[in-house]
């Protein structure tokens, strides 16, 4: 009897009435936590809130809807934004290309009209309209990566338009591939992913995220590289070098020949 009571008391202490509830809560938290880490994340759900979308909608209606339509459906002056995703908005607005200042063959890079937060809000709103590529994760855009591999991929896929040193180059009828010097890794990644304007799309099957990271590492390496060879003349290749040689170099030679051939008195 005494023994039974002691056992009962111990048993009662071991199994507190709240234990079940606590265990249940713990289980839920652990499961939820693991799910949050392991589950495939939908595009920008992690960062964009409903508030961002609402603020982005206001900005969109005030600044973008004239051309892109009240619901981003596009119109005579601007393309539809269906499926462009947050990455496209972050690139176009984050590099100042949008809003467009005036019609032309190509939207040019210029000072940003929106700050980072507003850009994120706009991106969240446009992404909420229809699914599209998300803003890339920082681990792919930090500039860490295999520089040699990135260089090889750059020369096959990018160098024909953007120049071997990323200095940019001409396309048809006034369009051009912009210089890649001083462009952030995120914007480079987004451009490859979304193919802005004349640029083709390089999706993750064509250039994997790891390879995109390598290309960014290569471009950052070019930016930081000290130029041992001296004056690089913009890294434009034979055009600028030839221009300097023909005007300055041959000019000096002509002046010297005139001096040599002149009679002394």
């Amino acid at each position: 009897m005494l023994k039974d009571r002691t056992v009962n008391a111990l048993a009662a202490r071991r199994r507190h009435p709240a234990a079940i509830v606590i265990l249940l809560l713990l289980g839920l938290v652990v499961t939820g936590g693991i799910y949050a880490f392991a589950a495939p994340k939908p595009a920008q759900a992690a960062v964009a809130t409903a508030d961002d979308v609402a603020a982005g909608k206001k900005l969109f209606l005030a600044n973008c809807s004239t051309c892109h339509g009240l619901n981003g459906q596009g119109g005579p002056a601007g393309p539809s934004l269906a499926g462009v995703g947050a990455a496209s908005v972050d690139f176009q607005v984050g590099t100042g290309r949008m809003p467009l200042s005036n019609p032309g063959v190509q939207a040019m890079r210029k000072p940003n009209k929106f700050n980072d937060e507003q850009t994120k809000q706009l991106a969240a709103y446009v992404a909420s309209l229809s699914p599209g590529p998300a803003i890339p994760e920082a681990k792919y855009t930090s500039g860490e990566g295999n520089i040699a591999k990135g260089g090889e991929l750059f020369r096959v896929n990018c160098a024909m338009c953007h120049n071997y040193a990323g200095s940019g180059g001409a396309l048809t009828r006034g369009k051009y591939a912009p210089s890649l010097h001083g462009v952030t890794g995120t914007h480079i990644y987004e451009a490859m992913l979304t193919g802005p304007q004349s640029m083709p799309v390089f999706n993750d099957a064509n250039i994997t995220p790891e390879n995109k990271r390598d290309i960014i590492a290569f471009l950052h390496n070019i930016d930081q590289n000290e130029n041992v060879g001296g004056l690089n003349l913009g890294n434009f290749g034979p055009v600028s070098e030839g221009l300097l040689a023909w005007t300055f170099g041959i000019g000096v030679l002509i002046a010297l020949s005139v001096w040599l051939g002149k009679k002394a008195a």
Binding site: F202, N227, V228
Partner: protein, 363 residues
């Protein structure tokens, strides 16, 4: 004389009326023959009078010029000494900011500058010396006749004949003709090497590539196959044939077999043959320009233009890559493609025409 007078009169009138109003001279009246006073031969005016330089006339100026020349040579000596010093003193890997140049290797810069100054001032000193102190009197040297005296010419010819006679060349034709044959044939090995050195005949290498039925389209440089479903609209893939990395002549084949893979909305492809040879809007075209063989890599996904960076030949992908601008004369050849049973893109056949620039047999 009357002609002359009237023409002078006309000239006077024309001058009064102003040069702009001068009426055109008819072709049959333009040439007026006059006395003119021009001699049959102009007299040789000779050299203009010699102008003496300052250093020729004053010893002081000459000494000044001497000092200037010596100074230039001294600058060269100093620069050479600095070169030697810099060679040992400046570490090779040191970089520093130089105005207008940017980051530069200090060692390269100092070595280059001192060497340039050293050589330049030897030259400048020599030229200044020549211009101030060396004699500058104008001299005329008359040309001598180059023909030798007749007696010398005859003696030379006689010598040759006498030698031939002494060697019995005329009397022993067997020697004469075999020697001629030997010398003549000796040219053959020389010419043969030159012609043979032009390399083997190209055979059909210019007309064919590695591509054949069933070869997978591989991504360059990864050499991984491409699934048709991965080629989204607006994409461009740089493609090499399967097995290129195992091919013995990899560079030659790479230069011929490079292919550009694009996906367009099938309704954008205006030519039925281009749609048929593609796969659901995915089309593959040779990347080698038909002008001089540069890689045509600049694809504009909005206009669907392909631009060659060398001479701006532009091809319209929607019109079966026909030339719309630039010096290229032929459209880019299309590679017929399809998918295999795993969904990877494969060639349906080889190219149906030669890729790249025109050549002799092709025209």
């Amino acid at each position: 004389m009357t002609d002359n007078g009237s023409s002078q009169q006309q000239g006077g009138e024309a001058a009064r009326a102003g040069d702009h109003d001068r009426s055109p001279v008819p072709l049959d009246q333009g040439h007026v023959e006059g006395t003119g006073g021009i001699p049959a031969r102009f007299a040789d005016p000779g050299l203009p009078p010699h102008v003496h330089r300052e250093a020729d006339q004053s010893e002081k100026a000459a000494r000044k010029a001497e000092k200037q020349v010596a100074t230039m040579f001294t600058i060269s000596i100093v620069a050479t000494v600095l070169f030697v010093v810099a060679y040992f003193a400046v570490p090779g890997e040191r970089l520093a900011y130089v105005p207008y140049i940017g980051q530069a290797s200090i060692s390269n810069l100092t070595l280059g500058l001192t060497l340039a100054v050293s050589l330049l001032f030897i030259g400048l000193g020599a030229v200044h010396w020549a211009k101030t102190l060396m004699p500058d009197e104008e001299v005329v040297e008359l040309r001598h006749p180059q023909r030798s005296a007749d007696a010398d010419r005859q003696a030379a010819v006689d010598g040759v004949y006498a030698g031939g006679e002494a060697a019995q060349l005329g009397r022993r034709p067997l020697i004469k003709y075999t020697l001629g044959g030997a010398l003549g044939l000796f040219a053959v090995p020389l010419v043969l090497q030159m012609v043979g050195g032009l390399g083997p005949l190209p055979g059909n290498a210019l007309s064919t590539t590695m591509w054949r039925k069933g070869l997978r389209l591989m991504r360059d440089p990864e050499m991984l196959p491409v699934k048709a479903s991965d080629v989204t609209i607006g994409s461009v893939y740089h493609i090499m044939p399967e097995g290129l990395d195992k091919h013995g002549d990899i560079l030659e084949e790479k230069a011929k077999s490079a292919v550009l893979l694009m996906r367009l909305d099938p309704s954008d492809l205006k030519v039925a043959k281009a749609r048929d040879w593609g796969y659901q809007g995915i089309v593959a075209y040779s990347k080698i320009c038909t002008h001089v063989g540069c890689p045509v890599g600049l694809y504009e996904q909005q206009t669907h233009h392909l631009l060659c960076p060398c001479h701006q030949s532009t091809f319209d992908v929607t019109e079966d890559c026909k030339v719309i601008f630039g010096p290229a004369k032929r459209a880019l050849p299309q590679l017929p493609i399809t998918v295999d049973n795993e969904g990877y893109l494969v060639a349906r056949s080889a190219f149906h025409e030669a890729v790249g620039p025109s050549f002799w047999e092709r025209g």
